[in-house]
């Protein structure tokens, strides 16, 4: 095959690739892969720190869901906002947060994103447009609509992204938020990370439709289902929805089908699902899958992949050490930051 042929066929391949591969530069794709590693390693570190008694309270790990967080955030800038959930570490890193300040927050330190007041369930990074994790299931839904209304009223060319879980889709807040967003044609993208369970309750036992996206018709908006473990599929769906929002055509509901391979939280005994089910999903791990795909498509060499992983690991180690060495807040300051004045 001569050079001419090679160029042609690769152009052909490209043309058939998901939009994300056509719109993101190789560098951006590598960054995305790195973020997925950072999320995974951050959460493994979080688990580990818990075992070592460095932190207490609860935590919700998104291990297995990294492609959804990073894919959705791929087309965003700091001017775009996200609202996140109790399972928010991934969204936070995907949106551009610094693992140092995340670990510090996780450890309740003064150097953390919330100065140790918020913890895992409230990490936010306002500068990168992350309005925060949320301890209330569905709590972020109307807030995201408010951010979108704000953008519209201010004439900004930005979008508001709202992450929520399958369990949250049965909250009244979901209904009210999607209805208002549609009636007002606001630039918001609703992203349901359907990991099949709300705590122990399967969508089948909690939700009267098969797919959460099936509910989009009730709000006259597109409902899109994607493989949430496939970075390119997620990123492409996000691009389409963000474009639509920016064109002023209103909201989209994206459902990412995925799975959390860890328990709901620390206290979960996994009584509601089988080992086989978990194992089957571990096999569909989005990170090696994305890595292999990038190598296969020639965006990445195996050596580069190894470098990216190592860089992520180093960053997480450093973040962990930074957080450990950071000072705690002064208990005398307990009533600081309640009000502004």
């Amino acid at each position: 095959m001569d050079l001419m042929e090679k160029a042609m066929s690769s152009a052909e391949v490209r043309a058939n690739l998901p939009e994300a591969y056509r719109r993101l530069s190789p560098d951006q794709l590598k960054q995305a892969l790195k973020k997925m590693h950072l999320i995974r390693l951050f959460e493994e570190g979080a688990e580990d720190s818990y075992q070592r008694g460095l932190t207490y309270g609860t935590m919700h790990l998104s291990i297995g869901q990294e492609a959804s967080a990073v894919g959705i955030c791929a087309p965003l800038t700091d001017a775009d906002t996200i609202t996140s959930t109790h399972r928010g570490h991934g969204h936070c890193i995907a949106k551009g947060a610094d693992p140092k300040k995340m670990f510090a927050e996780f450890f309740g330190k003064e150097t953390g994103y919330c100065r140790g007041r918020g913890g895992s369930m409230h990490i936010a990074d306002v500068k990168t447009g992350n309005l925060g994790a949320n301890g209330i299931v569905g709590g972020g839904l109307p807030i995201a609509v408010g951010a979108a209304l704000s953008m519209k009223l201010q004439g900004k060319d930005s979008v508001s992204i709202c992450f929520f879980g399958d369990g949250a889709n049965n909250e009244g807040a979901f209904h009210e938020a999607l209805n208002m967003a549609s009636v007002w044609k606001l630039p918001v993208v609703f992203v349901c990370e359907n990991n099949q369970y709300g705590m122990s309750t399967s969508t089948e036992r909690s939700t009267a439709v098969k797919n959460v996206a099936d509910r989009a018709v009730a709000y006259s908006m597109p409902g899109v289902i994607v493989d949430g473990n496939d970075f390119a599929a997620v990123a492409s769906a996000s691009m389409a929805a963000v474009d639509r929002a920016k064109r002023g055509e209103g909201p989209t509901l994206i459902e990412c089908k995925t799975y959390r391979t860890r328990g709901h939280s620390r206290s979960d005994r996994n009584r509601y699902r089988t080992k086989e089910e978990i194992e089957a999903w571990v096999q569909r791990d989005p990170i090696p899958r994305f890595e292999q795909e990038l190598i296969g498509l020639g965006f990445l060499t195996a050596a580069e992949a190894e470098e990216i992983r190592a860089a992520a690991a180093a960053e997480i180690d450093e973040a962990y050490e930074f957080a450990k060495a950071s000072p705690s807040p002064d208990p005398a300051d307990v009533t600081r930051f309640v009000t502004t004045v």
């Binding site: 140790g116 007041r117 409230h122 609509v145 408010g146 208002m180 004045v341």
Partner: protein
């Protein structure tokens, strides 16, 4: 304040505050059910939709939880929303967003955001609207750190407190007693504010301190007139802010009068009067007290429909006269 003063109704005073803020600050916008062409259930927003357009005077679907949450989202991203609950009773649907999100967001985020929004809360009984449209739930909100709560009693204060709320960086709830909407009073033109957290001594007296807010201020003043004829002088304090409470003004008054009574429409148990009693009982004024601290609060029942029952459920002027007279205990 040298601006010309006119007689306006309480509702008009609120309208004026909203209009002034919207003129001055493009970030201010209004949301709520039927606040547009309908003019609001109590005709407070009136023609604002015609003056500022339907984008800034935004009719919402009947979705109080969502509406409150939209306000939170808009507030943390550069706007200054005002959300009108058609009746404050419906805030029961939005406690999640008000209390878990709006009130706590700044704290949970370690001071990285402010949440500048206003919730307008028409409250109180007296209109025959029964148990689900007549509540006085101020005490709930005054219990929540991160919120500020004001409750004006006059058109003058309604405008000044609302303008203060509209400029405050934190979430403020403005309780508006429905029976006051049509009440008229002098209101200066133009911009002025009443500081949040400052009570007003609206009548000086020697014998009994009466702490009240909203409609109860007027009833207390009427009772004071009656008792003055008997030589009993009530000192009437209009709280104006329920969170933070101006304890200093009450303490100083009690040191002078040595007797304290609160009058409020909310249910007696754990209503705002509980806090008044408690903060005086723990204060330096305790030693000055010459008599038990009296609470005249709402009856321990939902608000009934029948007008006679409805009146019996909240303090009326004769109740205040009687309680204050008993408290004064013959001292004149």
């Amino acid at each position: 304040m040298d601006a010309p003063v006119r007689e306006l109704s309480f509702a008009q005073a609120i309208y004026e505050a909203l209009a002034i803020a919207m003129e001055a600050d493009p970030r201010v916008f209004l949301m709520g059910e039927d606040i547009g062409v309908y003019g609001g259930a109590f005709q407070v927003t009136g023609d604002l939709v015609h003056r500022f357009g339907a984008e800034r005077v935004r009719d919402t679907p009947i979705s109080e939880l969502g509406g409150a949450g939209v306000a939170v989202g808009a507030a943390v991203t550069g706007m200054r929303p005002v959300y009108e609950f058609q009746f404050s009773d419906f805030a029961t649907l939005a406690m999640e967003q008000i209390v878990n999100q709006a009130a706590k967001m700044r704290y949970m985020l370690g001071g990285e955001v402010s949440v500048p929004l206003v919730f307008r809360m028409p409250c109180g009984s007296g209109t025959g609207a029964a148990a689900q449209h007549s509540q006085s739930l101020e005490a709930w909100f005054a219990h929540v750190p991160g919120l500020k709560v004001v409750e004006p009693s006059t058109p003058h204060d309604a405008k000044g407190l609302l303008l203060a709320a509209l400029e405050d960086p934190d979430p403020v709830l403005v309780f508006e007693h429905k029976l006051l909407y049509k009440m008229k009073g002098p209101v200066p033109q133009g911009h002025y504010t009443i500081p949040i957290g400052e009570a007003a001594t609206v009548r000086q007296g020697r014998h009994v301190t009466v702490v009240a807010s909203a409609i109860m201020v007027h009833r207390a003043l009427e009772a004071a007139e009656t008792l003055a004829q008997e030589g009993i002088e009530l000192e009437v304090i209009d709280l104006r802010s329920l969170r933070p409470i101006d304890s200093r003004t009450i303490i100083e008054s009690v040191k002078k009068t040595t007797r304290l009574m609160s009058v409020y429409e909310g249910v007696k148990t754990l209503g705002i009067g509980a806090e008044i009693s408690a903060l005086i009982a723990e204060s330096e004024a305790f030693g000055y007290l010459d008599a038990p601290i009296v609470r005249l609060g709402g009856a321990e029942c939902p608000i009934p429909y029948n007008p006679e029952l409805e009146k019996a459920a909240v303090p009326q002027v004769p109740d205040i006269v009687e309680a204050a007279r008993a408290l004064a205990g013959g001292r004149t």
